[in-house]
Amino acid sequence: SGVDSLHNFLLHSHTLRAQFTQMVVDRNGKQVQNASGLMQFSRPGKFRWVYEKPYAQLIVGDGVKVWMFDADLNQVTVKKLDKALGSTPAALLAGNNEIERNFDLIDGGRGEGLEWVEASPRTQDGSFEKIRLAFRDGTLAVMELRDHFGQTTTIRFLQLELNPKLAAKLFVFTPPAGADVVGD
């Protein structure tokens, strides 16, 4: 079932690397964003989420804080990891058992070779109303995020590598010289 696939995935994926595409659709079904990039994580709490298109944005979780850098804005926004958990699905994927602790999990059915699991946050303070994850043969394939405004983000993972060797420096972020740094 979807819930079993999620548990197995969390159990066996210590590190992970994958390309991803991200599409955001608003409440009227209009596509408002199309992005793509590379995602890597190293459990617990470390991840590097790089947007390459349509513009350069980087989100790094170093296990303590989450750093978000937008190259065009030349601004770094820093959040404590636990505060960011609600708003950074990457943190959920790279978390210890946050998704089991903070979300109610139910099977989301099966279709087109995908097994779905639905995760509803136990507390409503995060920015998600619902998260859906899909697995193909036990491997993470799709993450769908719905917020409180009817916006739906669909992230598809491609060329996923399970437990690759990832350099520690990938999960360390140093603000570039001259960048504005804001947050805690």
């Binding site: 995020l145 405004f149 504005d180």
Partner: protein
């Protein structure tokens, strides 16, 4: 909202309505926010969505002749003025009244404005209503020449806007 009929040589006067997709970087002291910024500006109404990089709406601001509403994941708020509302709820002022003109490189109709233009007659600096606005970059958009980067400062508050896409009537 009648736009002033300031004739910019070469470029047509920017449209009264537009849609803008871009990113906003907010900084006030050591605090701040950055995310995607989608703005639909109509003749009588506005809808602004502040999004996280992953596309989640962090806040939605709606304005129409009756007033301004701000929705976040933990509440719904209303006021007469967008700047007051965003200041009290989000901690920083979004000067929507002036911004609907400033973002297209125009001065707002009310309040004296101090303007500096470049050789192509595009506004590169504008001071109005305690705001200082700079336009480091413009881009041709059909018949118009519109800012693709805008920096707005008021005291310790700085709003940096990068416009990725203009959608014009």
């Amino acid at each position: 909202c009648a736009a002033p009929t300031v004739r910019q040589m070469g470029a047509a006067v920017p449209p009264h309505t537009f849609q803008l997709q871009g990113r906003i970087g907010v900084r006030y002291g050591t605090q701040g926010f950055s995310g995607n910024f989608n703005w639909r500006h109509g003749v009588q109404d506005d809808e602004i969505l502040l999004l996280s990089p992953l596309g989640q709406a962090v806040a939605r601001i709606e304005r129409d002749p009756t007033g301004v509403r701000l929705d976040t994941s933990d509440g719904h708020y209303a006021a007469q003025d967008a700047a007051e509302l965003t200041q009290s709820i989000l901690g920083w002022r979004l000067p929507l009244d002036g911004m609907q003109y400033w973002v297209t490189g125009q001065q707002a109709p009310d309040g004296a404005a101090n303007i500096t233009r470049d050789a192509a007659m595009n506004v590169i600096r504008l001071r109005q209503q305690q705001w200082e606005i700079e336009y480091p970059e413009y881009r041709a958009e059909g018949a118009y020449v519109l800012p693709s980067r805008v920096v707005m400062r008021n005291g310790t508050l700085e709003l940096k806007l990068v416009v990725d896409k203009w959608t014009l009537p």
